[in-house]
């Protein structure tokens, strides 16, 4: 009964969606989009307009986004928290070949990630992409060196300080330029299409990159190693 109703509802929804396709695929940009496209360079001097939007124009969104990630790491850790005394998972160590390969690869993955977020204002990619690349490197490390613990201290410091730094940069904007997360008037905007340009945008994106990398790594580590509290709630 429920199934039939569900399928019926989906069919009707499909019909509704079909009606929406032409409207959604009309060409043209939104008014705000046009503004960003036209004035984005003048405002921020960052070649990558998406980065300008993400880090500057809609910076509050991004601060929120970073918070969501932090929150979900906290949440996952909170949900999968261990009972006192239960040990962490300690799976069998991986083969030495994987181990060595991982060590070699890890450095270059880290570099790639860093490159991505450092050039966030110039080329595609940025803090989030770079951060997740770093996390994939860490994943490799976790999988390869299962017997070893990740350096939680380092991750925690990185995570906390980069997040706090982000909020701090925003507050600097408030104090110096009169509005939270401001770019103009905080640092010189520099020249278009140069590495050292776009004011605080690269700084923020580096902080985001570090934070996202640390967070995603922690997330993976928790999900892999924290045993579910058995009968949590029985």
């Amino acid at each position: 009964m429920k199934q039939v109703l569900a399928i019926l509802a989906l069919l009707v929804l499909a019909f509704l969606f079909a009606g929406l396709v032409p409207m959604a695929s009309k060409p043209g940009n939104g008014a705000v989009g046009d503004y960003y496209a036209t004035h984005g360079i003048a405002d921020n001097r960052g070649s990558n307009l998406v980065t300008s939007i993400v880090v500057n124009y809609r910076g509050l969104d991004t601060l929120g986004e970073v918070t969501v990630l932090f929150l979900s790491v906290m949440g996952v850790g909170f949900i999968l928290r261990r009972r006192e005394g239960t040990p962490k998972y300690s799976p069998v160590p991986a083969s030495p070949i994987l181990n060595t390969g991982a060590n070699l690869l890890f450095g270059s993955i880290l570099l790639l990630g860093a490159y991505i977020f450092v050039h966030g204002h110039l080329t595609p990619g940025g803090g989030f992409q770079g951060g997740s690349v770093i996390a994939s490197g860490v994943l490799l490390l976790i999988l390869a060196r299962r017997d070893r613990e990740l350096s939680h201290d380092l991750l925690a410091w990185l995570e906390s300080l980069s997040g706090f730094g982000y909020a701090l940069v925003g507050l600097v904007g408030l104090v110096v330029a009169g509005s939270f997360l401001a770019n103009k008037g905080v640092l010189p905007l520099g020249t278009w299409n140069r590495l050292f340009s776009a004011g605080v945008i690269p700084i923020i994106y580096i902080l985001i990159g570090l934070k996202v990398g640390a967070e995603l790594s922690t997330l993976l580590d928790i999900m892999i190693r924290e045993p579910a509290p058995e009968g949590g709630g029985h």
């Binding site: 429920k2 079909a18 939104g30 949900i79």
Partner: protein
């Protein structure tokens, strides 16, 4: 002022740092947490205060130095500041509460709490729709995680279902944002609202449907509230309190911010219907709920539904922001407190709440106060909010919505007071409770905030609460707080307070008998004085008795004195709940008082309906009621009269009264019957009568509603008297008798003539005296014998001669025969009936009056005559204080008997002020004459006394010289004396033959009707709540169903046509021109010129 952005930035920054801070120790992180919350609350509260006072203007905040719509902007106004202050305080209290509740304390839970508050701030402040989405996700995710904080076993299931539905909600929101962006080319709310009407195409209409359904899910609207309600049941209540105080309000406010997008009559109807359906159905389903927390879940959903319902009204300036704010504040304060209570007394089922907090008077009072607050009773903020909202609605085209609103509110009474009833049951405390400070402080703080705000509102000068009334109420409040004092001390203090208060009232001239208010105030004073005196002899059952009694008396003074409709209703509802708690203190009080509060609540809502009709007609004060005309006047009168008729226990709605009168504490029943039953009478005379009542023209001729009321009164007098005859419980017998007597009074009022009113007023005083006398005496008898059953008593005349004499006087007065004062009342009433031409009714009243003889005889005979029971042989006379109060009442009766004119002359003045015509042709202290007859009270009395002296002298003179005195227990059977003196009991089945004769009339039809009525309501609730199957997928299907329903039925249009209609003329609905909405919401209007051309294509 602190920059509002810091309300977001600081908690975020701190949250990021907290894991590092925790390395210094948990104490450090708790301190940082606490200080962050203090900063947050302080910043928000300082904004709220400054905005309230008007010292600062609402502030627009731009971020990243870009004004909207290029950058994200925020807005700090009064509403935002209040919501965030509330969130901050909730955060502090919840943090305090949760410390001992957490199973495994973790830094992560602190981080989650901080981020929940940061998200709340963002959600409340932002004016950008996508930013709203981001902060909604922040609050949602912290909610999803933190619900697992406690040791609740069911939280996992509940949380998962909630999360999946929440996922659907965010998908809907994103879809909505996508299509809205395509249509308007902007994400700023105000900008979007401004551009939407011109481009109102199919895509936008669908987007609005998605947005709306997302909001319904987030705001726990019907029927998408299943998982949210599960959450209440399954999750640690401290966490739920935190959520109620933070995100729930923020999401509601977010909906308010995007409301300008939903233009047009169709959307208005959808939003209001959805909110109201949630309100009524949520409350309906809650009535069937045995699990306390689940019940609170339904209630929360319902309350938020009410607020959602009011949002379009707020937009249309029907309801003020203040009214809505008070309702929101009230809900947060009361609901959070109640949730905290369910964590302190951890019983899932309502039955487990027997004797809850019995050992903890503070918590007991706080718990009761929280229930009062959530039920919308004064002085709590919800009462004022509801009144202002209703008053706004009454004057608008939305007046009909008041009907379901009141219905839903009544349903709230049903389940909240059932909970209170259960908690009052069981005198033996279930266990000794030691409640740590951190658990009891949060509800105490919240209740205190509610009380302070509410009492401030009650001090409003327009309400006309006299300083005298305040004096009584403050005395009551102080005594309530000093409930730890010994009972005797309290009784003494209470008596002194009453004495002092009475003297002050007298010296201020408030007791002038020639005004209605003065007359009834005198009744209150007489009752309070005499019965407080009697109570010195009979200790009250419960420690809170004395404080509550003074509060009650104070509330009566409000009702009697104020001219404001709001003040009147506030006093009325105060009276309702204070008397409810007093009734509840009897041994079987909980059940009886439940019935009491349900009927009183219904009466209150009827009265409120009447007052709202009056408000709709433009009235604000009681004296302004006279200006009502036509149907407004008619309906105001009918609703008011119906409410008052329920409150006096008219036939058909009487079933609550005998129970309450008999189960109330014995020392309180006299006041209940003698004084409180007269307050509705006052309302009839001083409020309802102000309305110029038009006749109702029907096919059969003109019907006078007052005539109908007269018949109700007459039938009540008859029916209740009949029922009184067959009672074995003496308090119940007197209770039925009281109802019958008040029936006479109602009849007198309904005559709407000077003679009728004079009779009604005179009888009110008389009834207070003799019924007070009877109830006080009976209280003495019960105090000594410990039984209320007539068949257990007998022959007490030798042990309690004073009491016997008091009852004798009482029943003679009641029966209405000369020479005592009862006669004058009946005499006036019959004359008034004949004068009015209501012969049949007058005959009925006379017949009822005769019917009273049997029960009066039964009363005095069964208690005092016949054989003394073995176990009563050592009984002493009632306590001295009781006897003293008997004598005072007897003195009063004697005064009225000899010189009825001392009261009737001023009464005549009072009545003349209304009708312009005097009731009597001549009236002096001892002599009365009307058009129909003449009565010389002194003469009658003299004759009776002379006759009595002659008879007594004769008996003494002709008495045979040799008589054997027969003792009570000497019994002779045909000359044979049974060896041990045997007891013979008369009182068993006293009027059995009559009972058989009357049996067809006596069938408990009314009770059966109310029983089946309540059962059908409950079965409706039972059927309805099956909707919540507990299956997560079903809930998602509902969500989809609502989307499709709205698209297909409410906004039907071929979807494909939309793309061809950019002008919006053939879109889903025809856009209604909306005037300057951004300004209304207080959104910063987009700055012109920043967008090249500003066109969206």
């Amino acid at each position: 002022m602190v920059d509002p952005i810091l309300l977001i930035a600081v908690p975020l920054g701190i949250a990021f740092l907290l894991p590092l801070v925790d390395r210094l120790g948990r104490a450090a992180s708790r301190w940082v947490h606490f200080l962050t919350l203090v900063f947050y609350t302080g910043a928000a509260a300082s904004w709220a205060l400054a905005l309230h006072k008007g010292t600062v203007a609402a502030k627009d905040i731009i971020t990243a130095s870009w004004p909207p719509p290029v950058g994200i902007n925020l807005h700090m106004g009064l509403a935002e500041a209040v919501i965030l202050s509330l969130a901050g305080i909730t955060g502090i209290c919840a943090a305090l509460y949760l410390v001992p509740r957490e199973e495994k304390p973790s830094i992560r839970s602190i981080v989650l709490q901080v981020l929940l508050l940061a998200g709340t701030a963002g959600l409340t402040l932002t004016r950008d729709i996508f930013n709203m989405f981001v902060f909604l996700e922040i609050t949602s995710i912290s909610t999803f995680a933190i619900v697992l904080l406690g040791k609740e076993k069911k939280a996992l299931e509940a949380g998962f279902k909630y999360m999946i539905l929440g996922g659907i909600a965010s998908v809907l929101l994103l879809l909505g944002i996508a299509f809205l962006y395509k249509t308007t080319g902007t994400l700023n709310m105000a900008d979007m609202a401004a551009k939407l009407p011109a481009l109102f195409t199919g895509g936008a209409a669908a987007a609005l449907v998605f947005l709306f359904v997302c909001m319904v899910i987030e705001l726990k609207g019907f029927p998408l509230n299943g998982p949210a309600i599960d959450l209440y049941e399954g999750v640690e209540p401290g966490v739920m309190a935190l959520i109620v105080g933070t995100t729930l309000n923020a999401v509601l406010f977010a909906f308010w911010k995007i409301l300008p997008l939903f233009g047009g009559a169709a959307w208005e109807g959808v939003i209001m219907t959805s909110g109201m359906a949630t309100f009524v159905l949520g409350n309906l389903f809650a009535t069937r709920q045995k699990k306390v927390r689940r019940m609170l879940g339904y209630s929360s959903s319902a309350q938020v539904g009410l607020l959602v319902f009011m949002l379009p009204l707020l937009r249309n300036h029907v309801v003020t922001l203040a009214a809505l704010g008070l309702l929101l504040l009230n809900h947060t304060l009361a609901k959070a407190s109640l949730l905290w209570f369910t964590g302190i007394h951890e019983e899932e089922e309502i039955g487990g709440w027997r004797g809850a907090f019995a050992n903890n008077p503070l918590l007991r009072i706080l718990f009761g106060a929280s229930v009062l607050a959530i039920a919308g009773l004064p002085p709590f903020p919800g009462f004022w909010g509801k009144w202002y909202a209703l008053a706004g609605m009454a004057r608008s085209p939305y007046a009909w919505w008041i009907l379901p609103l009141l219905l839903g509110s009544l349903l709230e009474f049903v389940y909240y007071f059932r909970w209170l009833k259960e908690s009052a049951r069981g005198v033996e405390p279930a266990r000794s409770e030691v409640v740590p400070f951190s658990l009891s402080a949060p509800p105490a703080i919240f209740t205190a905030i509610g009380l302070v705000l509410g009492i401030r509102a009650l001090y409003g000068p327009a309400l006309g609460v006299s300083s005298q009334a305040w004096l009584w109420m403050w005395a009551g409040g102080i005594l309530l707080a000093a409930a730890f004092l010994p009972e005797r001390v309290q009784a003494g203090l209470s008596f002194l307070a009453v004495l002092l208060g009475s003297i002050l009232l007298y010296s201020s001239g408030a007791l002038a008998l020639h005004t209605l208010s003065g007359f009834f105030t005198s009744l209150v004073v007489i009752g309070a004085l005499v019965f407080s005196l009697a109570r010195l002899g009979i200790p009250a059952l419960h420690r809170n008795y004395h404080g509550l009694f003074l509060l009650l008396a104070g509330s009566l003074l409000i009702v009697l004195k104020t001219d404001s409709l709001l003040g009147f209703f506030a006093g009325w509802e105060l009276m309702t709940w204070t008397s409810y708690f007093l009734v509840r203190q009897g041994k079987k009080g909980p059940a009886a008082s439940y019935l009491y509060i349900l009927f009183s609540g219904a009466a209150g809502f009827l009265v409120l309906g009447g007052l709202m009709t009056a408000v709709a007609g433009g009235a604000v004060t009681i004296s302004g009621l006279g200006a009502l005309r036509g149907n407004t006047a008619l309906w105001a009168w009918i609703l008011l009269a119906a409410g008052l008729a329920v409150k006096v226990g008219s036939w058909g709605a009487h079933i609550w009264a005998p129970e309450s009168y008999s189960e109330a504490p014995d020392v309180f029943t006299p006041f209940l019957s003698g004084v409180i039953s007269k307050i509705p009478v006052f309302a009839f005379l001083a409020v309802a009568a102000k309305i110029a009542l038009p006749g109702v023209t029907t096919t059969l001729g003109t019907l006078d509603p007052a005539w109908v009321l007269g018949w109700i009164g007459g039938l009540t007098a008859f029916g209740m008297t009949l029922l009184a005859v067959f009672q074995d419980d003496m308090k119940k017998l007197l209770a039925y008798s009281s109802l019958g007597q008040v029936g006479y009074i109602v009849l007198g009022f309904a005559m709407m003539s000077s003679l009728g009113w004079t009779a009604a007023l005179y009888h009110s005083l008389n009834h207070l005296l003799f019924k007070g006398l009877l109830f006080v005496t009976i209280a003495g008898v019960i105090y000594r014998t410990g039984t209320r059953s007539l068949s257990d008593l007998g022959g007490l005349i030798t042990r309690m001669p004073f009491s016997f004499f008091a009852v004798l006087i009482g029943i003679i007065t009641l029966s209405g025969v000369p020479p005592l004062s009862g006669f004058a009342g009946k005499w006036l009433l019959y004359q008034a009936g004949i004068q009015k031409g209501w012969y049949l009714l007058t005959a009925l009243a006379m017949f009822a009056s005769i019917l009273a003889f049997p029960y009066l005889f039964k009363l005095i005979h069964s208690i005092f005559l016949g054989q003394l029971k073995r176990e009563h042989r050592e009984i002493r006379e009632a306590p001295k204080a009781v006897v003293l109060s008997q004598w005072i009442l007897i003195a009063g009766i004697m005064l009225l008997s000899v010189a009825p004119g001392t009261v009737l002359v001023p009464i005549q003045e009072a009545v003349k002020a209304f009708f312009g015509k005097a009731a009597f042709t001549t009236a002096t202290a001892t002599e009365l004459a009307t058009d129909l007859g003449y009565f010389h009270a002194m003469g009658v009395m003299s004759m009776v006394v002379v006759l009595a002296v002659i008879v007594l002298a004769g008996i003494l003179f002709f008495l045979p010289k040799h008589t054997t005195k027969v003792k009570q227990l000497d019994i002779v059977y045909s000359g044979e004396v049974p060896p041990p003196p045997e007891e013979i009991q008369y009182a068993q089945n006293f009027f059995r033959p009559f009972e058989r004769a009357y049996s067809p009339v006596l069938l408990p039809r009314v009770k059966a009707f109310w029983k089946s009525f309540s059962e059908s309501v409950l079965s409706l609730a039972e059927a309805g709540r099956r909707l919540y199957t507990g299956d997560g997928q079903t809930y998602i299907l509902y969500a989809l169903g609502v989307v499709l329903f709205l698209v297909l039925f409410i906004f039907p249009a071929p979807a494909s046509s939309s793309s061809k209609a950019p002008g919006g003329k053939t879109g889903y609905i025809v856009p209604v021109p909306r005037k300057a909405r951004p300004a209304e919401v207080g959104v910063q209007a987009p700055r012109p010129g920043i967008l090249p051309g500003g066109k969206a294509k």
